[in-house]
């Protein structure tokens, strides 16, 4: 049976709704559907909804950024963190937590803001390092990204290992990723950035298709490759920095989900980007359920779950046949 692209999108959307609803019911306390709206669960329900929304937004945003960068850099190993954003944001967050950087007028927003700005500063540095004249080489981008990531990760390790303060646990917890959020405004900002990013990149996705054929090919087809690179570079940087600054480093989603989505729906980025967003959301909500349930009453960092579950999942999908025929 041949599944049409819009049918796949529809199926994925229903799957997402189902998973989100399921996630609403389970956790440290299981709620039966009939008692969902009873006043006793109002507080728990609210917390769970914010968690589900954040997991959805983060999963969607990371998966879409992965899809964009894989196409743009013509590299199947690209993920949202390959250009150094996560290490930059991570360093910003660790510094903010351990040195108690707290701008009083920002309150609880100072940590994510600090992480966001540090992430963007890092990616800007990577961009400058790979710029030669008017051109930015994709290989240079990858190389400088990997190098800067290695250096900043080293600094993070150094700071964490040299610390004996009580902040250590929360720094580590942050680095491993989490989907807890207490500030609704922050949730709204991250959601808005992600939705905007997904919509704009879907709209411009035809250019990614051409870019993925290779830069020289794209030039002869009339594509303004430097402009396309810059546009998608900016979109993916802002999305990733926003998500990382709130959720920490949730790895693996951005790497594997685009590959899985491509198997469902083919390589055309106009369909791949929405499909990646849906698959990423589904995957992260599922991982969040596991993070809450598996080692009850202790909660696992979600980054641990995405990586441990992601690898076998990925192998399973890679070993299956290529496109649906």
């Amino acid at each position: 049976m041949r599944i049409k692209p819009y049918q796949s999108i529809l199926i994925l959307s229903f799957l997402l709704l189902g998973v989100a609803f399921f996630s609403l019911l389970i956790g440290s306390v299981t709620i039966t559907p009939t008692r969902l709206f009873s006043p006793a669960f109002k507080g728990i329900l609210f917390l769970r909804i914010t968690r589900i929304v954040l997991a959805l937004v983060a999963g969607a945003g990371l998966a879409v950024t992965g899809a964009i960068l894989q196409g743009l850099l013509k590299n199947p190993l690209a993920d949202p963190y390959i250009l150094g954003i996560s290490s930059g944001s991570g360093l910003g967050a660790v510094v903010a937590i351990l040195f108690g950087l707290n701008l009083s007028f920002l309150g609880s927003l100072s940590l994510p803001l600090f992480a966001f700005l540090a992430g963007l500063a890092t990616i800007f540095l990577v961009y400058l390092l790979s710029k030669k004249g008017a051109r930015v080489g994709t290989e240079d981008l990858l190389l400088s990204g990997v190098i800067i990531t290695a250096m900043l990760s080293g600094i993070i390790m150094f700071i964490v290992s040299a610390t004996e303060q009580e902040g250590l646990h929360s720094a580590l917890w942050w680095l491993l990723g989490n989907t807890q959020i207490y500030d609704l405004k922050l949730l709204a900002v991250v959601s808005a950035i992600t939705i905007l990013g997904v919509v704009v990149s879907t709209f411009l996705a035809r250019n990614l298709n051409i870019m993925s054929l290779g830069e020289e090919e794209a030039i002869t087809m009339g594509l303004d490759v430097e402009k396309v690179k810059l546009i998608f570079f900016v979109i993916s940087s802002i999305m990733t920095a926003a998500i990382v600054s709130v959720c920490g480093m949730i790895g693996f989603v951005g790497l594997i989900i685009p590959h899985i989505a491509r198997r469902f729906i083919g390589p055309d980025h106009r369909r791949l980007i929405p499909a990646s967003a849906l698959c990423g959301g589904i995957y992260l909500i599922l991982c969040d359920i596991l993070a809450r349930r598996v080692t009850q009453p202790i909660e696992l960092p979600i980054g641990v779950v995405t990586a441990i579950c992601g690898a076998p999942f990925f192998i399973f999908f890679l070993r299956r046949s290529r496109r649906p025929k």
Binding site: S212, G214, E216, L223
Partner: protein, 261 residues
């Protein structure tokens, strides 16, 4: 006014001048072959004509317009390029790939319309690829893929078609098959063709004129019978060869000959 006018072109990479003092002109509808030893600058010349490399000096005029003052988008409407092969990371179908060739008429923001799909279907028919249009490009044979790439170039509706060794990975059947197709397009729709070829006999059979490059300079430009002479070939390619004429069309045929015989 000539269709294509190359004036004192210099091109290459950082600290490495590959092409120097390249001047030649091409009339509309001509089929030009570029030949020359490895490293002579054949591919660099094509890349400079197609905006991939910016020239270090000199000018290229296409229908009187300096192509390096045009945007890549506008140039891609006049001039399309077919490379040796397309190694796509993702398995797009033939139709998806060919449809991408409409990019010069869409720019950054537009999506393809119905007439773009019609143009694609016409190009698929002309290149005899209609039956394969739903196949993933990476599952085709090299010869079929080359036809798909020609179809992609055709939907750009160019007046100038550049080809970089389109027959490099093909057997003799596909070599003639692809070049027959290119010649048909060249004759039927006055598509001007500039084609890098390694095989001197194919160059001799298909091209109106040959441009012989040697060490970054033009070593000869004229009809095959003028360029494919044993002393010229011996000098530029450092190879011993016999040159004869084929009994059907009287075109030169080149037979390599062992140096130590």
């Amino acid at each position: 006014m000539d269709f294509l006018n190359v004036v004192d072109l210099k091109s290459g990479y950082k600290n490495n001048l590959v092409l120097n003092e390249i001047s030649f002109s091409v009339k509309k509808g001509e089929f030009i072959g570029i030949i020359g030893p490895n490293g002579a600058g054949k591919t660099t010349l094509l890349k400079t004509l197609s905006h991939i490399i910016r020239p270090l000096g000199g000018k290229v005029f296409l229908k009187g317009k300096d192509i390096h003052l045009l945007s890549s988008l506008l140039l891609a409407r006049e001039c399309a390029m077919v490379g040796q092969d397309l190694l796509s990371l993702f398995s797009f179908t033939v139709e998806e790939i060919v449809l991408m060739g409409r990019n010069p008429y869409l720019g950054l923001f537009k999506q393809e319309r119905k007439e773009d799909v019609e143009i694609v279907n016409m190009a698929l028919k002309r290149t005899d690829m209609s039956l394969l249009k739903d196949r993933p490009i990476d599952e085709l044979s090299a010869g079929e893929r080359q036809r798909a790439l020609i179809a992609k170039a055709l939907v750009q509706q160019p007046q100038l078609l550049l080809l970089d060794e389109p027959t490099a990975h093909l057997d003799i059947g596909y070599q003639t098959d692809i070049l027959d197709l290119i010649r048909l397009l060249n004759r039927d729709s006055e598509l001007t063709v500039i084609c890098v070829l390694h095989d001197l006999n194919l160059a001799s059979q298909y091209c109106d004129k040959l441009l012989l490059l040697d060490k970054g300079k033009i070593a000869g430009f004229g009809p095959p019978a003028e360029i494919l002479q044993y002393d010229i070939l011996e000098r530029t390619f450092n190879a011993r060869c016999l040159v004869d004429k084929d009994i059907l069309g009287g075109k030169p045929i080149v037979i390599p000959f062992p140096k130590n015989a």
